[in-house]
Symmetry: none
Subunit: 258 residues, 2 copies
């Protein structure tokens, strides 16, 4: 698992992520270009290549939307053709909101992200290509891509904003990069879970109490014990909570003993 | 797999997706509100609730960014407090770019999306809550959430644009809705939760017992009560488990009375 919480570290410095470029073909709105830069840097991507952007591509509107990703915006490479933009790349994936004909192989976003990462991890240069705000990529441009990366969406409102589409793809790449191990413990509680030994002590204490208060025949009832184990397993107790609950058990036992 | 390609169908009409609301707490930029509406409709979500939005929340800037999601923007519900926004909801997840203290349980985005869908699929109302552009949600607002939904990001540029954060979460929800339903984290698994009223009866019974066994001064100790509530909330009890635990409480009370 990566130490992704270190505030010292800029994930854009990662060699694997650095070999991935986001290519925008003929974007029209500088605001979108700035928002793309931000979405990229949020997700550790820093190589932005612009094919025929508008004259004011790095102007006020772009800078406002880029916020703290101004460096990504200002270091963007401007080229005149998609061919030039993808020249050093051995994997080129073109984003598409629509399902196209079988002329191009299609990949779901998560598979595309995994593929892109594995290629860049092997030292290859990878391009993720996004088309015009209104009309996407032309067939001629798609012919330069090795596969389509398809972002499914609501047919009643299928077209994603350009920066939103980049955000979805960059998120999938970043999530895969962070690793199989989830950054946050899936036990659902921030505090570290206690050891199995501590939990066994907890269950032994609980089952003893249940015998003392004559709540069913706990010794015999394996099914019932399993139910309680499941319940407290789901609660994902931390040490403090184990202490509190065992404190309650002890209070009950004291009272019974009186 | 759903037939999501049918161009006739608006996924916003889906009952399961309809029970999910996006709540924006004190957003400042109308442009972001419009962009959120678009991100939502792209992903089949249509219930937008705004807590204290700016006066021009549905103005020119918002409409331009909403594009074909103008209906979602214009039907947004405006309320004065987060409490009102989430009143009918039985699951409330608050988005956070930062990892917070263990005071709040945390879920990775994909698990949060799976959980939200499984709950709304069971007929429950679900809220996904997003804070201010600059400062997120306050601790008091997070206290109203059942768990945090954490979007990991590059520490060197951690803060996502508001609409970008909604896009990531809505994408995960939509992806789960479209596809094979991934198993929900087993920390949350189980039968549908019981109503808040049943849980209040459970807590009242528990707290009465704790007074009877003289375990701390429960009447006075609000912090302690909150801890126990959180613990049993996480356990996501079903009716049978509530019955078993209350049976145990009664057994203790009988024994004490002897």
């Amino acid at each position: 698992m990566r130490d992704y919480t270190s505030s010292q570290h800029d994930h854009c410095e990662d060699a694997q992520l650095k070999r991935m470029r986001i290519v925008l073909v003929s974007p029209s709105h500088p605001g979108n270009i700035g928002a793309v830069a931000r979405a990229m840097k949020n997700m550790g991507l820093c190589q932005l290549v612009l094919v025929n952007p508008p004259d004011d591509w790095a102007g006020e509107q772009a800078r406002v939307r880029a916020t703290s990703a101004l460096d990504v915006l200002q270091r963007a490479q401007v080229v005149e053709s998609l061919e030039t933009a993808i020249a050093p790349c051995t994997l080129v994936l073109g984003a598409s909101a629509r399902l196209r004909s079988s002329r191009w192989p299609q990949l779901p976003v998560d598979e595309a992200a995994a593929l892109a990462l594995s290629r860049s991890g092997a030292g290859e240069q990878v391009a993720l290509v996004f088309g015009r705000e209104t009309s996407g990529l032309t067939n001629g441009e798609l012919d330069l891509c090795h596969a389509l990366l398809h972002i499914p969406s609501n047919p009643a409102c299928a077209s994603l904003n350009l920066a939103a589409a980049v955000q979805v793809v960059a998120w999938e790449v970043y999530q895969h990069w962070l690793g199989d191990e989830k950054p946050v413990s899936n036990t659902f509680e921030g505090a570290p879970q206690v050891s199995a030994a501590v939990m066994e002590g907890f269950y032994a204490h609980l089952f003893t109490l249940l015998e003392q208060v004559e709540f069913m025949d706990v010794k015999q009832n394996e099914h019932f014990k399993r139910r309680l184990r499941k319940l407290f397993y789901r609660a994902s107790l931390n040490q403090k909570e184990v202490d509190i609950l065992r404190g309650i058990f002890r209070a009950c036992q004291r009272k019974i003993g009186e």
